[in-house]
């Protein structure tokens, strides 16, 4: 498995190189993308535009700009924001914790709801609970996250004159109450909404497994029902569920942009949104490469986890 992992990891730089090149050249190739003109606005003289280009290295050929940027990236220098000139590394360090927390919590609740309700739905197939869960899954997956989060703000306001905590992110070790008041409701909501796919997949997979001979045998042996379900059936249904969790992670990762925007959290998603909007190219480039890195790593972890879930899986 180690060799498999190393082989997969060996592809990482190649994938990141490809992503970085595509993003870099695409951003500079789009029409109307002269960053100096965008920064300077109308009225800038040629000298002033030249100064901006000089300051940001925009006079160099594009491939040379890419080489410089890539070299710095490899050395751990992510560059500076166009807009504020602040180091991207510092800003990333500041914005990572809230994003990490919202993603982790949402994924946690998504997994609990998705797998839990999926199992229940399979166990009580075609019963009221099954129909309820399936109806809820379809309903939740069809409502945009932005709308759900807006309801999260509006409904408590009109019912109890309650406002979500304002003023942004406070680390959990500084003020756990404020932190959880800010993160728990959206994480539950996003988790629940995001769990719909997982819920349906778990149900389908469990239904197949529950019909298997070995499950029937385990039941015939007199094992308790929950032991049969959790120890025998679920483990065999685990592989597609973990795969779906990996996909859900990527979805939650993207969804964090909306959560952060609506809840005024200065995280990575909000940063990406703002940077993309104002053409802060160094930030967009960095965050795209970072996202690719995370997605590749998550997929690797998912692949490696198959071996733990199902001992029949061999990495070769």
């Amino acid at each position: 498995m180690t060799r498999y992992a190393l082989r997969r990891l060996a592809w990482l730089p190649i994938i990141l190189f490809g992503v970085s090149a595509i993003v870099f050249f695409l951003l500079r190739g789009l029409p109307g993308q002269d960053p100096a003109a965008a920064i300077a606005g109308q009225g800038a003289t040629d000298e002033q535009l030249d100064r901006i280009r000089e300051d940001w290295g925009l006079n160099d050929p594009v491939w040379q700009q890419y080489g410089t940027w890539l070299g710095e990236l490899v050395r751990g220098d992510f560059g500076n924001e166009f807009r504020s000139e602040k180091p991207i590394k510092d800003e990333f360090a500041r914005r990572f914790p809230p994003s990490f927390q919202i993603i982790t919590m949402s994924l946690f609740f998504g997994a609990i709801f998705g797998v839990g309700f999926g199992i229940l739905s399979a166990m009580f197939r075609n019963g009221p609970l099954d129909y309820g869960v399936r109806f809820g899954a379809v309903g939740l997956s069809s409502i945009p996250e932005y709308f759900l989060l807006t309801l999260l703000i509006i409904i408590p306001l009109y019912l109890w004159n309650y406002s979500m905590p304002v003023g942004g992110y406070v680390p959990i070790y500084e003020d756990p109450v404020h932190n959880l008041k800010l993160f728990l409701p959206p994480a539950l909501l996003i988790g629940l909404a995001g769990s719909a796919g997982l819920m349906r997949l778990t149900r389908t997979t469990m239904l197949e497994v529950l019909r298997s001979d070995y499950v029937r045998t385990a039941s015939a042996k007199g094992l308790r029902r929950h032991t049969v379900i959790l120890s025998h059936a679920l483990r065999n249904a685990g592989t597609p569920i973990v795969t779906a969790l990996g996909t859900a992670f990527v979805a939650v990762f993207g969804g964090s942009i909306i959560v952060e925007r609506v809840l005024s959290i200065q995280g990575l998603g909000e940063w990406f949104f703002t940077a993309a909007f104002i053409r802060d190219l160094p930030v967009v480039q960095f965050l795209t490469v970072y996202t690719a890195f995370v997605v590749v790593m998550v997929n690797l972890v998912v692949d490696l986890s198959y071996g733990f879930i199902d001992p029949r899986v061999r990495y070769s």
Binding site: G168, V262, S264
Partner: protein, 587 residues
């Protein structure tokens, strides 16, 4: 004091009606949008009215003293809709607008300012201005006693003329946003002595004192000379000035906290202002989402609010009753249709016909749900410069006449088979305006194709590089009439470069606009502004202003001393105070 948009949302800020609530959120933060059309702070605010009642726009004019003597103390909590990228007020124009607008009249001091409601120059740091020559080319400015905030490296030292001179020169080094008084009009600025400085202008410029010129909240802030160069780290993180607020803290540009500068000077405009500001501070609370902002106000987390619609304001009054004071104010921003001077729009009959096809009343109804006013070349919020409604030129300009328009188009051999393009940004207001204009122009047989563009692309490429046949958008709320007029001028007075987006040039229009800009007598200047508008309308200059919206705002009744209609200055005026007893009771 109204909602604080902090410039980041400046260009993106719009009246988000119920219909637009969702799309508005997508348009969201248009930081870069603050880009260029200059201007100052958003004027989305409350002007106060009777308790718990909805007041028509500008029915009540408050001078800040209407609630009796101010009481010292308290921290005002207001919404901050966007985080500042840094505290740096220097850099290419578009990058520093947000910082300039936030810190300009708070942390930093200025020589003077012209409040939009009175139109009369108020001296701030300056105590005397002399214009020795008849043309006003030279200004001798005397400054009063003031000290900088007690922070390294200024350490509370006195403000000198050299600080003013060096600050102006430092701002002049940066690329401007379009026309700039510093670059295009100011010839030089020099120190005469510790308390006196001399400004020379290349040509007479009557607007020198206004907020788009030497009274700019952004580009004429006064900083200690020792941090103007080679202190990039300090400028990114902190702001040191001599204004009435000291920047106490911020969370990387969010949740900014201002605290009263105890050594703030005691004079202004010949008045003793000892003890002002009354507030101990202002806390900006970072809330990006409009719904969350409204919820925070309703729950008492913020003291002021900007409402997205009249309905939301009325609902709030119903819910909170006399605890809130709501009001409406006429916005200084304005919507327009712009034609590029290429065939067929270089034919004034075609331009005239297009204007005749615009139904402004209908546009107000469709876009602003009836809450707006028709706009002339100078938007209606600038009351002093409004033509009487029965002015023949204005009547003609505002009259919708589809039959007359068709006749004009036919006379001009207009190609009705051709499709004409309106490019517009993806801002909700711009999109709505484009839809309305397409429909209205269509009544005259004009085939219109709409092309929506990303805001930044639209601004930097389409508008800035004049790459459009037609475009329509919402202008920023300029605090004076200099810019709205100068958008019609054909060439910049000094550089000769095109001064307008339409590539429009007309000697009569240029002469009329310049005549106003160079008329030093205030009363005479008002007349010349009125006349310039008449010329612009008669010539069918290719920027047709459509309407200005009415904004709605509110505050809890314990917030006192608000000033009406003063844009940037009003937002940060020192007369606001809190009735803490009422606040505690209501909490």
């Amino acid at each position: 004091m109204g909602e604080q948009d902090l410039g980041l949302r400046y260009w993106g800020r719009q009246r988000v009606t119920r219909r637009r609530a969702l799309s508005g959120a997508v348009a969201g933060t248009a930081a870069l949008g603050a880009i260029a059309l200059v201007g100052c702070k958003s004027d989305k605010k409350t002007n106060g009215g009777g308790n718990g009642t909805v007041v028509p726009p500008t029915a009540t004019i408050n001078d800040g003293y209407q609630d009796g003597p101010g009481k010292p103390g308290g921290i005002l909590k207001v919404r901050q809709a966007g985080a500042l990228p840094s505290m740096n007020v220097f850099g290419p124009g578009i990058l520093i607008l947000a910082q300039g607008l936030t810190l300009g009249f708070t942390v930093f001091d200025h020589l003077w300012y012209v409040p939009t409601d009175t139109g009369v120059t108020e001296l701030f740091l300056a105590t005397k201005i002399e214009q020795p020559d008849d043309q006003g080319l030279e200004l001798i400015v005397t400054i009063g006693d003031a000290t900088f905030h007690d922070k390294e490296p200024a350490n509370g030292r006195k403000v000198t003329a050299e600080d003013v001179v060096e600050s102006f020169k430092r701002f002049k080094e940066e690329p401007p946003i379009g026309y700039s008084w510093l670059q295009d009009v100011m010839e030089d600025i020099t120190v005469v002595d510790e308390k006196t400085l001399r400004i020379t202008q290349r040509f007479p410029w009557a607007w020198v004192f206004t907020s788009s010129n030497a009274g700019s909240p952004i580009f004429t802030s006064i900083l200690p000379k020792e941090i103007l160069h080679d202190h990039d780290d300090l400028l990114l993180k902190d702001a040191i000035g001599s204004g009435h607020w000291n920047l106490q803290s911020h969370d990387n540009g969010a949740n900014i906290k201002f605290r009263k500068f105890q050594q703030f000077r005691t004079y202004q405009n010949g008045k003793d202002i000892t003890g002002q500001p009354y507030l101990n501070g202002v806390d900006f609370i970072f809330i990006t989402d409009d719904n969350a902002g409204y919820a925070a106000f309703r729950a008492g987390e913020t003291d002021t609010a900007g409402f997205t619609s009249r309905k939301q304001m009325e609902d709030t009054v119903t819910e909170l009753g006399s605890k809130v004071v709501t009001g409406s104010d006429l916005s200084r921003d304005y919507l327009n249709l712009m034609l590029h001077m290429e065939p067929p729009f270089n034919d004034d009959r075609v331009r005239r016909a297009f204007n005749k096809l615009i139904d402004r009343d209908e546009a107000i109804l469709l876009i602003e749900e009836g809450d707006g006013l028709k706009a002339a070349p100078i938007p209606p919020a600038h009351k002093r410069y409004q033509l009487p409604e029965n002015d023949p030129d204005l009547v003609d300009y505002w009259t919708t006449d589809v039959a007359g328009a068709k006749q004009l188009l036919e006379a001009a051999a207009f190609d009705f088979d051709r499709e004409y393009e309106i490019k517009h940004s993806n801002r909700a207001t711009d999109s709505q305006l484009a839809q309305v204009l397409k429909e209205q122009l269509g009544r005259g047989g004009v085939k219109v194709k709409l092309t929506q563009e990303d805001l930044v692309k639209w601004f930097t490429q389409t508008l800035n590089q004049h790459q459009f046949q037609m475009t329509c958008f919402q202008h920023l709320p300029y605090e004076d009439v200099d810019l709205p007029l100068r958008f019609y001028m054909g060439a910049d007075t000094s550089s000769g470069r095109p001064a307008n987006f339409m590539d429009y040039q007309d000697a009569d229009v240029d002469a009329a606009v310049l005549a106003a800009a160079q008329e030093l007598d205030e009363e005479a200047r008002v007349e010349k502004v009125l006349e310039a508008q008449r010329v612009i309308m008669r010539k069918s200059a290719p920027m047709f202003n459509v309407l200005s919206a009415i904004n709605f705002g509110g505050r809890y009744d314990y917030v006192k001393g608000s000033v009406t209609g003063r844009g940037s200055y009003g937002l940060f005026n020192r007369t606001t105070w809190l009735d803490d007893d009422t606040r505690r009771q209501e909490a």
